[in-house]
């Protein structure tokens, strides 16, 4: 496929800075580009992109495509799909990577549909096969019960990448790269989908995805009120509270703190799973944690299979004592 | 307009309910089967060996498509003392030819298949729904209540298994006393098929049933069983519930004990336990068979206590099939006559009396009493094992005749000739 060249990343921004996953994408993108002996580019959409462009170059990009359009500051699915598809058509990358984020989940399938190419979502490992120079994509399937290794035959080879599964490069300000403006020919007014309002839930304390300690509760917690015990421990450990599907579904906690295959991926130093049985779909979201601790009253719960430490106990009796002891230790 | 009343509503999609529904649907009647399990067979278990001759009357050559595990060609009976075991082993290749004598079967698969046949025949099965009550018009049963909905029917067939709720609701039976039921617990133990074949001396699809008497029940009325499946063993024990309560033992503990007996341990070596299940089985034979019908209502299978226990074998499935088929015949008659009252439905009991169902139960009506005798589970197995031990021991001392050995052994077991004579007499009469 001579005409398809290079690796393209779709960048995401938060307050004018690259998000964690974007840096992770640059990290793996750099490696793939090197293996191909080709260039790494990134697409940035929004206004005031100069800081992010500098960051992107420091994190490994050779080229930054700047789609400057203030309207894109507010993520708009149709518009982003349009811009990214057009760029792909124009520069014909061999590999096009996005994050398995809300934006990636929205736009990647649509771009793939427009380009009529295969898309492998939620990849946890990517590598170039030396002989064919094709991209081998590894992704969890069947809720995490299995891993599938697939290779796309169509170009660009599109994949979305699971958060925290790749490592970013150490930023190096001495790296050189060029910024290239992209013509943005989208008129939000003609787009069929209209944004009425956006409601962001304010986050108190540490953001779940960035927390070094996560205290997660499951169906076993039993009520919204009982989550206060988890809050207390999380605060003490300077971490965040997460949850399995059940508490989110029951409305005990916000749906935005669901951890797992369909929720957030976290990789803290310590993950404390309380009253969580350890369904594959849940542990998909926390397996990257350095240390997993389980508190469950059922000794046969699956969570003990993936934990490093555990106690078999009713959390209502165990948790206060645990928090107390932690207070003592941490001081 | 779609009919809102069925010719028959069958409660329970076990062998009895499926047989009834299949025969009725084949005859073109509107049949509804309501099953509480997530799918038919989901929670059902038995030993078990299925004798196919009755089913073959309903579904000829069923063995060609049913999910059967192994053809049983070998039957072993084993007596256990604390450590020793003594076996009688019967093997016949003729059992391995169509139509076969019996098959080992896993209920989850088999019941699902059978229910599929029932649907193919045109009956409707609603799984995941518990029949809670009967609908009445005066003294006539006119349907069932399930999940808060009403399902009207000309005849209701109670095929809801042992301790039938519906037979009780119909006023035909009382809640079963623990004297008249046994509890079966079983483990499904995975083992590669090659190992099974080698270990049990079997050809490809051949299987064995092994029944255990003696130490495994700690003297309680009951026994142990082992059946070979394709890639697993069904291993369990059946014990009378009242005895179990009296002794205060946990069935799971008994099963563990059974599994660690030297005569059993090696048979299951290397296997991994895949599931544990428990189920009741009626054991009173004809003595506790309730009134079998009422206006608009029939009771079939385990729900009617139609299970034959002879002490060695346990056959419920054939009785379930046969009673289900007899019920179907009767409902067809009721449809013809336009009369679902007891006047027509009494035909059901007549059919059962003519068939092996009530005849066999009559023949073995004393077995329950006989089988309550603890000597069967302690004294005799031990006697047999110890006799054999004596017979085979070679310790440099002068040998004794078998008769002398027996005398000594009987003395040790405090067993008089009179006991043996009485037990022998009762046994002859009972089994």
């Amino acid at each position: 496929m001579a005409e398809y060249k290079g690796v393209l990343i779709c960048g995401e921004l938060i307050e004018g800075r690259l998000t964690g996953i974007s840096k992770e994408l640059l990290g793996i993108g750099r490696k793939l580009a090197d293996d191909l002996g080709e260039e790494l580019s990134i697409l940035l959409m929004g206004s005031d992109l100069s800081n992010a462009a500098r960051e992107a170059i420091a994190c490994g990009a050779n080229k930054v495509y700047i789609a400057a359009q203030p309207l894109l500051d507010n993520y708009h699915c149709d518009a982003c799909t349009e811009v990214a598809t057009n760029l792909c058509r124009e520069i014909a990358p061999s590999v096009f990577l996005l994050g398995q984020t809300d934006m990636g989940r929205d736009i990647a399938p649509r771009i793939a549909a427009r380009l009529k190419v295969a898309l492998a979502v939620d990849c946890v490992e990517l590598r170039i096969e030396p002989d064919t120079k094709l991209l081998i994509q590894t992704r969890p399937v069947y809720g995490g019960n299995a891993l599938a290794e697939v290779v796309s035959v169509t170009h660009p080879q599109m994949a979305t990448v699971r958060a925290k599964s790749m490592s970013p490069l150490e930023p190096d300000e001495s790296r050189q790269g060029e910024s290239i403006p992209v013509k943005v020919e989208v008129d939000i007014e003609t787009m069929k989908i209209k944004l009425v309002e956006r409601i962001k839930q304010p986050i108190e304390g540490v953001k779940l995805e960035d927390a070094d300690a996560v205290v997660a509760g499951g169906a076993g917690i039993g009520s919204a009120g009982n989550f206060a015990m988890l809050e207390e421990l999380a605060k003490l450990l300077k971490g965040a509270v997460g949850a399995s599907r059940v508490p989110c579904q029951e409305g005990w906690v916000s749906q935005s703190i669901e951890i797992g295959q369909t929720g957030k991926i976290v990789t803290p130093n310590i993950y404390i799973a309380i009253g969580i049985s350890g369904a594959v779909q849940h542990i998909a979201g926390c397996l990257g944690s350095k240390c997993i601790v389980a508190v469950n009253k059922d000794p046969d719960a699956n969570i003990f299979k993936v934990a490093d430490f555990g106690i078999v106990a009713d959390y209502k009796e165990a948790l206060p004592a645990f928090t107390e002891k932690c207070k003592e230790i941490i001081g | 307009m779609e009919p809102t009343k069925f010719d028959a509503v069958v409660a329970g999609a076990g062998p009895a309910g499926c047989a009834a529904a299949y025969a009725l649907a084949k005859a073109g009647l509107e049949v509804l089967v309501i099953e509480r399990g997530k799918f038919p067979g989901a929670k059902n278990m038995f030993g078990g060996m299925l004798c196919g001759s009755v089913l073959a009357q309903l579904i000829p050559n069923f063995w060609e498509e049913a999910p059967l595990e192994r053809y049983i060609t070998r039957h072993v009976i084993t007596f256990l003392s604390r450590e020793d075991s003594f076996s009688i082993d019967f093997q016949s290749p003729s059992f391995g030819k169509p139509p076969y004598n019996g098959y080992s079967v896993l209920r989850a698969k088999f019941d699902k298949w059978l229910a599929g046949k029932v649907e193919e025949a045109g009956a409707i099965i609603v799984p995941g729904l518990l029949v809670e009550d009967l609908l009445w018009d005066g003294n006539q049963v006119v349907g069932v209540k399930a999940g808060g909905e009403d399902f009207p029917a000309s005849v209701v067939i109670a095929a809801d298994g042992v301790n039938s709720l519906l037979a009780q609701k119909a006023g035909l039976a009382e809640e079963l006393s623990t004297e008249y039921v046994s509890l079966g617990v079983k483990e499904l133990i995975q083992l590669p098929s090659e190992i099974i074949q080698e270990r049990f001396n079997l050809e490809d699809d051949e299987g064995v049933t092994q029944l255990f008497d003696g130490f495994c029940t700690r003297g309680m009325h009951g026994g142990g069983f082992l059946y070979t499946n394709k890639e697993s063993l069904s291993l369990g024990i059946v014990i009378q519930l009242s005895a179990l309560r009296r002794m205060g033992v946990k069935p799971a503990d008994l099963l563990e004990e059974f599994k660690s007996h030297p005569g059993v341990r090696n048979l299951i070596k290397g296997g991994t336990v895949e599931e544990y299940s428990a189920h009741l089985v009626p054991n009173a034979g004809i003595n506790k068979v309730p009134m079998l019908y009422k206006d608009g209502f029939l009771v079939v299978g385990d729900a009617a206590g139609l299970v034959l226990t002879t002490g060695i074998t346990l056959d419920g499935a054939s009785f379930a099939f046969a009673s289900g088929m007899a019920a179907a015949e009767t409902v067809k008659l009721a449809k013809q006559n336009g009369d679902p009252s007891r006047k027509t439905l009494c035909n059901y009991e007549k059919l059962l009396k003519e068939s092996f169902v009530l005849r066999d139960l009559e023949t073995f009506k004393h077995s329950q009493f006989f089988l309550d005798n603890p000597r069967l589970y302690t004294t005799y197995p031990e006697l047999i094992c110890n006799l054999s031990r004596g017979l085979f021991t070679n310790d440099g001392k002068p040998r004794k005749r078998l008769w002398q050995l027996a005398r000594t052994e009987m003395g040790r077991q405090k067993l008089s000739i009179l006991h043996v004579a009485v037990d022998g007499f009762l046994g002859r009469r009972a089994i």
Binding site: C77, P109, R110, N145, K194, V196, A318, C326 | -
Partner: protein, 266 residues
């Protein structure tokens, strides 16, 4: 009254015990565990639920479509039992990772049904978890799509939907026809009633072949011309858990804290 099409897929029960999950390394396929019936993918059940709620709100005719082997008729039956009006099985076995083909066949089937105002899909099929088919259908039909919604409201010929985004949600408006994909946030799917199952069992469910809907496989090409499955395998992930004991739960908990300190994790 609007016409709603719901796409449902029949899959292995995603909540089966992990121990029952086995792969045949020869064929790179999952061995369906015995005794565990196939189910409607949970998000698709929720898609049916979403359609039923619209039907209750403003009247709708709901047609359910599935592509799969003949037993996939059970997925349609389940949806009918929940309350959908019609169902169609397109009989063709596709690899779960070939989203383009799945969406292509579904698009053709949808075009055959003709009347549609709204197409509802699950957010992702709970086996291969691709989350693409709904979007591809929308692109092929040239209609708008909103993925992962938690609420759908019909206002004349427009829709108002709540779309889930990072740390919150947004409210969007779009014209019909449109594709919406739904997630579990839509709420529990209803359990079919007994009479629901009965009327579903009595319905005739047409089975369409690819020819019936004008799908020409030679045109779209076989799966391997897009994507190849090299290997399907089970990950190893047992960590060897240390169970911390104590006379009471509280003591065990305190010991756990000490042990974690020792291991320098807190």
């Amino acid at each position: 009254m609007i016409n709603i099409i719901v796409c449902v897929k029949q899959i292995l029960d995603p909540e089966m015990p992990p121990g029952k999950f086995k792969i045949d390394p020869e064929s790179n396929k999952v061995i369906p565990p015995e005794g565990i019936p196939l189910v409607v993918s949970p998000f698709d059940e929720q898609a049916v639920e979403a359609a039923l709620r619209i039907k209750e709100q403003c009247g709708a005719k709901i047609t359910v479509v599935t592509v799969g082997e003949s037993s996939a008729v059970n997925a349609v039956k389940h949806s009918l039992a929940m309350g959908a009006d019609e169902g169609i099985v397109v009989e063709h076995i596709i690899e779960g990772y070939d989203s383009l083909l799945t969406a292509y066949i579904l698009t053709k089937a949808i075009e055959e049904i003709v009347a549609y105002d709204l197409i509802i899909c699950g957010r992702e099929a709970a086996d291969w978890g691709s989350g693409q088919v709904g979007s591809i259908i929308a692109e092929s039909l040239g209609i708008p799509v909103v993925a992962r919604t938690r609420k759908i409201e019909v206002m004349d010929s427009r829709l108002k939907v709540e779309h889930i985004i990072e740390d919150g949600d947004e409210s969007l408006e779009l014209p019909m026809p449109a594709v919406i994909t739904v997630s579990y946030e839509i709420g529990q799917a209803r359990i079919p009633t007994g009479w629901g199952v009965i009327s579903a069992a009595r319905k005739k469910i047409p089975s369409w072949s690819l020819e019936d809907i004008g799908v020409d496989l030679s045109q779209i090409g076989d799966t391997s011309s897009r994507i190849k499955l090299l290997k399907l395998f089970t990950p190893t992930r047992e960590r060897g858990c240390q169970i911390i004991e104590g006379k009471t739960a509280a003591e065990a908990a305190a010991n756990l804290a000490l042990r974690l300190r020792e291991a320098k994790v807190i």
